[in-house]
């Protein structure tokens, strides 16, 4: 079992009538990684998660978690996973502790000292009724519930919604610890900064199609940077255009701004030969820009 990927989908397809929510999704999530699953609203993220958890059944194709078939072995799978659904709903008339006890009873083998440790880290109040908690505090109960059995695979759909920035940071730490422990985190999210911070790889889904799977590091290296150059004298923008990777050159007297995804060395060579360079700043594109680039390319 240990050689099997954490999550594997093959041609996974789900149609709701005429609506194609997932189309031929092939995805491998490795063990020990934090995998970020990105996509706009309605792209199929939640459908994918609900399908691999056997909440809904694929129209065609298959999925497995830790080598076990998502439908035929769904009960065995659930022994090894933790799950935070998107738009988390809990039983409002139970306290946080009741809620956790309920799920611990259904699951068995939960270490309560670890539960208490998690509650302490997330500053969760487990004595109040869940219905009386704010959405962020309710979310903490959902997170503890998913982490408490130290699952092999954590599947979380928008898990940090409602958490304040401090708690988000703690939660990100918890995810990295899971990965460091050799276990896997599958994180569906809109919060790009979070994915950027914790994920090893990201998959981008749009309109049911998986359009890219990349390592976060390589995604960033491909990223287009904005370069600002400040000269002692007015310059001619045309000089920069032949340099490989240069785009969108804008000139304002002694200031040049351009988009660049080539090797910095070749750009600097051209600059230094012609002009007297006073200052240079580069602005690295964040994941959001990469993300948008992918969307634009895919929809083009």
């Amino acid at each position: 079992m240990t050689s099997n990927p954490a999550i594997l989908t093959e041609k996974l397809t789900k149609h709701y009538g005429d609506v194609k929510a997932l189309v031929d999704l092939d995805l491998t999530v490795h063990r020990g990684e934090v995998f970020g699953f990105l996509g706009p609203n309605g792209a199929g993220k939640t459908t994918m998660i609900r399908t691999i958890l056997d909440e809904i059944r694929p129209t065609s194709g298959s999925a497995s978690i830790l080598g076990m078939d998502s439908h035929a072995q769904s009960v065995e799978i659930r022994d090894h996973i933790g799950y935070v659904p998107g738009d988390l709903a809990l039983y409002p008339n139970l306290t946080g502790r009741d809620t956790l006890t309920y799920f611990a009873n259904l699951r068995g083998g939960v270490d309560w000292s670890f539960v208490n440790e998690l509650a302490e880290r997330l500053e969760a109040d487990l004595t109040k009724k869940v219905g009386d908690l704010s959405s962020g505090n309710r979310q903490k109960v959902g997170l503890i519930q998913a982490f408490m059995n130290k699952p092999e695979v954590l599947i979380m759909d928008e898990p940090s919604s409602g958490l304040d920035p401090l708690m988000q940071r703690e939660f990100q730490k918890m995810m990295r610890e899971v990965a460091a422990d050799g276990r896997t985190v599958f994180l569906s999210s809109h919060t790009l900064s979070e994915v950027e911070r914790v994920a090893d790889r990201v998959g981008i889904i749009r309109r049911g199609f998986l359009i890219a799977v990349e390592e976060v590091a390589s995604l960033r290296s491909k990223a287009i940077r904005t370069v600002n150059l400040y000269f002692a004298e007015p310059v001619d923008g045309k000089v920069f255009e032949p340099v490989p990777g240069v785009r969108d050159v804008r000139v304002e007297n002694q200031h040049v701004s351009l988009s660049f995804d080539g090797r910095m060395e070749s750009l600097l060579k051209v600059v230094a030969q012609r002009y007297n360079l006073l200052d240079i700043t580069t602005q690295e594109a964040d994941l959001e820009e990469i993300f948008l680039t992918y969307y634009e390319e895919a929809s083009a």
């Binding site: 056997d54 008339n93 009873n105």
Partner: protein, 552 residues
Amino acid sequence: MLSTVLTKTFLDRWKGEAIGAMTLILLFLMGMAVYRDIDLAVYTDLPEVFRSLMNIPADADVGALAYGAIYTSYGALTLTSLALSMGSASIAGEEKDGTMGILLGNPKSRTHILVSKGANVILLTGLGSLLLWAGGVAVPALLDVDVTGIHVGALVLHMFLIAVFHGFLALVISAWTGKTSIASGVTIAVMVISFFAVGILPLISGLEAGVKAFPWYYFSGSQPHLNGVSWGHAAVLLAGIVGFAGAAVVGVNRRDLRDRELGAGLVDRLRSHPLTQKVVERLAGSTRVSRIWVKTASEHQGVLIVVSYVMFLLMGVAIGPMYNFIDDALISLADAFPPEVLSLFGGGDISTPEGWYQIETFGLMAPIAFMVVTVMIGSRALAGEEAKRTMGLLLANPIKRSTVVLEKTLAMVVYALVVGVALFAGVALGSIFGGLGMSITNIAATTALATLLGLVFGALSFAISAATGRVRIAVYGTIAVALVLFVANGFLPFSDSLAGLAKWTPVHYYLSSDPLNNGMNWTHAGVLLILFGLLTFAAVALFDRRDLRQAA
């Protein structure tokens, strides 16, 4: 805004109203077809007091019988139940769903929302009434039955008013408390008590005038289908409606809105009290969440307590001694009763204690009581978790879907057993206190059959809930099927050619063997048990097969 809130509420609710009305028209068609077929002397020879109870005049014809039996009882109760469900969900429902805040984020007042909700009760009850009126006119024409002298319009107008009356009573409670459960619970209690008071009080000499204290009297007391609109009675109901509307406006404006409905029940209070904390913490905390069925069973304790109490004390213990008060009057009349007539009330020889209990308690009230608890769990156990979006999380645990269905079915069985024990104990004590000398074993047998019948309908609602994932379809679907089966079982034996069909209704296997007198009929119990098993199996299979719903 007014029209928007109204339109949305209307669109949310119109299907239930239309299904309710169409089911009633179907029953009416069936009833009238059977009445056309039989010798009406069985009705017209009845003692006067019973004819008046059942809304049957001395010279009753097919029309008068059909309207009296179907429209004034089942019809009015159904229309009223729908109205009170709308009324109780109105303000409190939005609060329970947590949508009140966003609704009031728009530049309109609470009064506006309340008026929209109230207008919807009137509009949809009007729609239901209109359908019933159309059915009431069309069915006799279709069957070629002469209904001269029957005031369908007047009857339907009275029905409309009694329904809106209860709808607005629920609305006012909903507006003052923000709790749907209190609004619907109190209003249902008013409806049921008043329905039975109007039926029973005229039987007890000296208390006849007491009926005027009950709203239902102003609906049926004047026999509007025979005598036309009683403007005096209509005015009483209308005054009530206007009064409730005014009180609702005051109520909704003066209190804090609730965020979400979270009742702090008795258990919660005990749990926070230092004296009881330790014990209750164990019971309400760790025990409550120890198993799926225990948790499910903990969720509807309020209804279970009320139903068990009503069946034990009011329908059990109290009915026995009452027999001695009206015994003499009834025995002299008993000979005049053809058994077929009483079969509508569950049958039985009213001159005997067993017959008295059968008519008062077991015939109609016991099946209703069992269905209240079994259908409540059956319809909500699966579809309710889906509507509240907790099913996904529950099934993320290493348990099979079939386990969930079976554990929740177990909770339903436990509830049915609690009601069964309460009913058995109540009737047994009633028999002892009243000195009636009924067989305790036979009471146990009858209670067991009632429990099984309740479980059959509960399992039906489970199966519908498992197949559709929708609470409302499960509730209304089960009630519609139960209504048709009960009436069919009551009516079919009247017609020689159709009598055999009664065996096809599960209701037949409840009282047809007269278990209060003859003891347990194991074959009948077996039929009900097998039916329960089959429906439970269907629920497991249907739930296992489909996609879970994501939201309400």
